[in-house]
Symmetry: C2
Subunit: 304 residues, 2 copies
């Protein structure tokens, strides 16, 4: 259940969340540019006809990152009828402010990573939501453990025991039922925790702030590993699954399509290249098959 | 409104449709293999746990066709709850039999083409549906006119004036509202015409039978045209739109995902390769921009 609060408090939280995600966007883009060393983030400010707008920052064809988006959006107005029955709260007035990060590296040895945090308000009700998850193409268990360990620290600082809950929610959410696979090795996902909104603001921004700590070490460790056409092909097949998840299941993408967000910003999460090969199965015993095993049966990467 | 009919007649129509689409599948695959000259169609028979099954035939990495699927499916059982409110008729018992064709040629000079026909039955109600549409990457107006002319003939033979109606339905259906684009230059789309079921069976199978006449001439005319990396890249960008349409809007795909059809058969329509470049716009005055103009404002290709 979302929390209800006086409009002045909701306005203030909305403004604070906006300021926080704008600052995080600048920091994260600067850090990723330093790592990449070649390409730079573009900056496209856009307005939404129904109310609000955003700043989309995208880096393409870098030395390390093939396509990365770090977007801030702040939209408000009347809730589209399609969504009215699907989100909590009452009335037609809504506002949402959030940060969305999706990083598709060039090398199949470096995982795709995603994080987003958002504050949504409908009438007198409001809630925070977000998450972070990792989508490797080749499994380095040390990387999975590190990613989860950093997220666990953020969760446990906020509320002891919450990592286990958010980790299970992520395993349930980042799921392609039609494939019987998760899209990656998970992370955390949380929404509408129903607690004190100011504490949730602190938690949500802490998740976004921890993202680089969770992800950058594996970029540095794996960026120079050799790979060839076969590994690249596998990466593109798995990126097809990423497309399937985002277009069929991802709530943020569907929210963006239904609220007529700026389409290039909504779909910046889609990978630069994807491939669909009919009835493809990796060879038994291969590294590709080892990844699939984990996608089919999510693991615990750190102690709960 | 679907037509209601006695169960014996519905059984007979179901069986006749099944026999017709199986024969068409064999003919179409044989014709495409002759044209390709190199690759052959695989044949995968599958069972659906809830009832029914199908035969999926896919050709990959051909000389002309990069990926083509010609699938027959015959599924029946209890309607999934998600679908119960979305399709006409009453009760939980349903059956569907149909043929689905999607052809993605290697050359960007040769359009992607699609056709499907289906007979769906729910309780005592039943209807036919289907369509055919063309998705070029480069515009050859002669090809678009030919494709529509063949479809017009089939429609007008069935019911004078019906081409105009089915053509408008296709323009409305093969539409990506979030892009403000159609996925191609259209064709026809029809569903639940509410007429005599036996006449609709004849019409539906005639549409499938006309598919090769509508499509093959342009394959022969364009298959040897030269192209380079730039044209291939544009083809992959447009194929990204094809993916967006199929995963977000296509009723057959959504029906397949919700009825737990065989996933590789449901998603055989997805292109072999696709690309998403952030905020890509073709150069003004280019051939790519000329195609976009037509996708944004559907044309009449033949007299109505």
């Amino acid at each position: 259940m979302p929390t209800t609060a006086p409009p002045e408090l909701l306005d203030r939280l909305h403004d604070e969340m906006g300021a926080a995600v704008r600052a995080l966007q600048a920091e994260i883009c600067a850090a990723l540019e330093r790592i990449d060393g070649r390409a730079r983030f573009s900056a496209d400010a856009w307005d939404r006809p129904g109310g609000g707008g955003g700043l989309s920052r995208v880096l393409q064809d870098g030395a390390v990152f093939e396509k990365s988006g770090v977007n801030v959006s702040e939209v408000h107005g009347s809730l589209p009828p399609d969504l009215a029955g699907k989100i909590p709260g009452e009335g037609g007035a809504f506002a949402a402010v959030g940060l969305s990060i999706v990083i598709h590296p060039a090398s199949p040895m470096v995982p795709t990573a995603h994080a987003n945090v958002r504050f949504i308000r409908r009438g007198a009700a409001a809630w925070f939501g977000g998450g972070a998850d990792l989508t490797p193409y080749y499994l380095f268990e040390e990387d999975c453990r590190h990613f989860h360990r950093v997220l666990r620290e953020v969760c446990e600082r906020h509320e002891p025991g919450s990592y286990a809950r958010h980790k299970r929610t992520a395993d349930a959410y980042f799921h392609l039922p039609h494939r019987g696979e998760r899209r990656g090795v998970g992370g955390i996902f949380f929404e509408d925790m129903g607690g004190d909104l100011r504490r949730e603001l602190v938690f949500s921004t802490a998740v976004a702030r921890a993202f680089l700590d969770a992800y950058v070490p594996m970029v540095e460790r794996r960026r120079d590993l050799p790979y060839g056409e076969a590994e690249r092909r596998w990466q593109e097949i798995r990126r097809g699954r990423y497309v399937e998840f985002n277009l069929v299941h991802d709530r943020g993408t569907i929210f963006g399509l239904q609220t007529a967000g700026r389409i290039e910003s909504v779909l910046m999460s889609l990978p630069p290249r994807a491939r669909w090969i009919y009835d493809h199965h990796p060879a038994p015993g291969s590294r590709e098959a080892a990844l699939l095993d984990v996608l089919r049966t999510p693991r615990e990467w750190v102690d709960l």
